[in-house]
Symmetry: C2
Subunit: 456 residues, 2 copies
């Protein structure tokens, strides 16, 4: 948790222009909290805070701002100030910032980079979107297998400023091929005159730079490691991905799935920062698709207009019947989408799960069918009660089972088609279930109540 | 990613009873992959794999199984085997296993523990559910401020087997009060004869054992650290929480939110392992609540039965109008629930966001209203076209705005009432929006089409 007290105090010092106290406060606060405070301030104050920071803390603080805020603030800085920050950013943070820029702005910032930084940035930006390469840092420390532990530790000490993290020491051969990853702990525990190769178990977990970043999340979670080495296709070590980057990715991917489930396009920027126009464009697409689906519901109802005119009491149950199929469907879609995303179930499990979901749906349908039958008896009165109870009870059972099957199968089918199962959003399931629910309900009603047949 | 090839090979070796090859394979595979293979095998094979493992890898492998599988497999083991595993588990994994047991089984397993383990387990189980105390391990290494770096490193070497992780070295005073956390890296870089206190910056981020585990997730994410020290109310150090536990918690909490959004109770066990009866009990509650809400929709319709009989074409648009308000509501609820969960927005932002959501909703409503008006002109034909277009267009605008406001405000209100905003599930929003949508639609229709007034 950010320290709220400190943040409020910092903002007060900026407003009161107590520059001396501000400088002192900025010395002692955690950079993450300073960034948090900056994100709550207006742009001029934000720039002032950055400039009041000790030089060696500026870049670090900058790296904890959102990309949107980074773009705003860097636009306010002089080219010299921007150049310094861009140079000092660790490579993965620099890639993150650069890839968030519009193409026309990107060029201007690339010109500020020195030749080495430029070469490296262009290389990292060359990896596909959402790949491990975009996420990795090229700052890491490696040692050779024939060194002694003492020499390796000396080397690590010397190079420590380069390593973003040194919980793991990477062993590579002369050409840079990754041979092993050894915990720093094991180096400290080992005899100082032992060879590095004595510590090696030749069992190294790594990932390729071109792999999807989701795979990095799963690998780090599966093996409970803090640092994952990244290689090219030939096993040459290129960089590392660390667990803090992975947690950010995991959170973004969660958010994407969550938004898809709720039927909004996935937002890559924060709701707080997004403009109304942006939110409108993200949301209108799905809503209009659903309008079309729901017009089909209207057509389904139109088929039975005569039946409705004959027994107007049928309309009373209409919202209940169609909503229940949608609700049962949302439930099973939610369970399946999440289980597929976490790897709890796989596409090949569908048949087993289908059997289980069918039995759950039957239990749910029978319970809800009985409940709604009782309402049917009351609503239908002495003359129509029993028949209406039978219609709505059977319809409820049928639509709940139908909705649950739809909600369960659609994510699997999407997965099979190599689409994201989360596209089976609850509004989509609900709307499709509506159409089918209406047809089922009125068909059962027509059969039992001997109503006028559908308009053709 | 688990190594699928290895897992399949291992399962084949078990089936073929090639015990020698099996033992060799079990020496070289990662324990996480062995656990993955066990989770795919039947119980007798699972037990066989565990027993074929080298003794020193058994507990480690066991700790990567799900709690359900741990319970099953430990039921198959002799008391001596169980005792050994329980003794060797690190404290947080042991707490996790013990808290997953039924109360009647718990006692039996507690009896298997030695006095020290028992005392510690009872203490950890004494922390509230979902607190940091349940998550922490008590294995950590601490040093004193007046020691030299050389002495501290000696101590760390000596105690290294006790530390689950030693990326950080904790400095405590004689009574155990936490003073600082220093990166192991800094120890290695420092002069060997310097005092530990020279490395201290007296700025330590820690958390209390009684705090909610969500707070630990946020702290570790905010400060990008791998290990978080846990203290009691007086600052005495009790244990540590590591980032791998935090990632598991973050995933569980997200799954909970996801399930709530979809209107299933939150499942703490895997969908694959859950029995149909369990799934039924988890899901029927919400569905029955929604049945009641939807019966209110029926009553709302019943008010307007005469209007419907007079203009049966109104029913054609009914599913579209009510679904659209639910869909718009689901979208905004989804955005808000997630933004509140990630801390992107806070309860105090509601007024600003309300203004923004209102403008987005007006844009969405106008677009959808125009679209549905065109359908109204077609559907109403020459005599009723213009009037019907006006009714459905206005109704669409009104229900979309209403749905969006409902979806936006409900999560905020729940948060204010200290309830989980994710309780504002999409099925709930949809069902409530249905009732209000019906009332709005027929009220507008009654006013414009001069229909019979509501039945009273």
């Amino acid at each position: 948790m950010a320290e709220k007290g400190s943040i409020i105090e910092l903002l007060a010092l900026v407003n009161l222009e107590r520059d001396h106290d501000l400088a002192e406060k900025l010395e002692e606060m955690a950079v993450q909290d300073i960034a948090e405070a900056m994100s709550q301030a207006e742009l001029p104050d934000r720039t002032k805070i950055l400039r009041s920071l000790p030089e060696e803390r500026r870049t670090d603080t900058f790296s904890y701002l959102s990309h949107g805020q980074q773009r705003e603030i860097i636009g306010e800085l002089s080219p010299a100030e921007s150049r310094r920050i861009l140079h000092e950013l660790v490579p993965d943070d620099r890639t993150g910032f650069l890839e968030s820029l519009d193409p026309e702005d990107l060029e201007g910032y690339l010109k500020l980079l020195g030749p080495d930084d430029l070469k490296q940035s262009l290389k990292l930006l060359g990896y596909p979107d959402e790949s491990v390469g975009r996420l990795m840092t090229t700052h890491f420390v490696s040692v050779r297998p024939n060194w002694t532990v003492a020499r390796a530790l000396d080397h690590i000490r010397h190079e420590a400023h380069r390593g973003e993290t040194i919980n793991f020491v990477f062993v590579t051969d002369e050409r840079g091929k990754l041979l092993d990853a050894i915990r720093l702990k094991d180096f400290i525990l080992a005899r100082q005159d032992a060879r590095v190769e004595k510590l090696m178990d030749d069992d190294v977990i790594s990932i390729q730079a071109a792999a999807d970043r989701e795979e990095a999340v799963q690998t780090i979670q599966h093996y409970d490691i803090n640092t994952l080495p990244v290689t090219d296709r030939n096993g040459m070590m290129l960089g590392i991905v660390t667990v803090d980057d992975i947690m950010d990715v995991a959170e973004q991917e969660f958010t994407e799935d969550f938004h898809k489930l709720g039927g909004t396009g996935s937002l890559t920027i924060s709701v707080r920062e997004a403009s109304p126009g942006f939110l409108y464009r993200k949301r209108i697409g799905w809503l209009m698709i659903l309008v079309v689906v729901n017009l089909v519901s209207g057509l389904a109802i139109a088929l039975f207009e005569d039946a409705i005119e004959a027994v107007i009491a049928l309309v009373f149950f209409l919202p209940l019947i169609i909503a229940s199929s949608g609700n049962a469907g949302s439930q099973s879609a939610t369970l399946m989408v999440r289980a597929l995303a976490t790897g709890d179930v796989e596409a090949s499990d569908w048949f087993k799960l289908w059997g289980k979901e069918l039995s759950v749906a039957l239990l749910l349908g029978v319970t809800m069918g009985i409940a709604v039958s009782l309402v049917g008896i009351w609503r239908g009165g002495p003359e129509l009660g029993m028949e209406l109870a039978m219609v709505v009870g059977l319809a409820m059972l049928a639509v709940v089972v139908m909705g649950a099957m739809l909600g369960m199968l659609l994510p699997f089918i999407l997965q099979r088609l190599n689409m994201d199962p989360a596209t089976a959003s609850t509004p989509l399931i609900t709307s499709v279930a509506d159409v089918l629910g209406i047809l089922i309900y009125f068909s059962i009603a027509s059969a039992i109540l001997t109503l006028p047949s559908p308009v053709t």
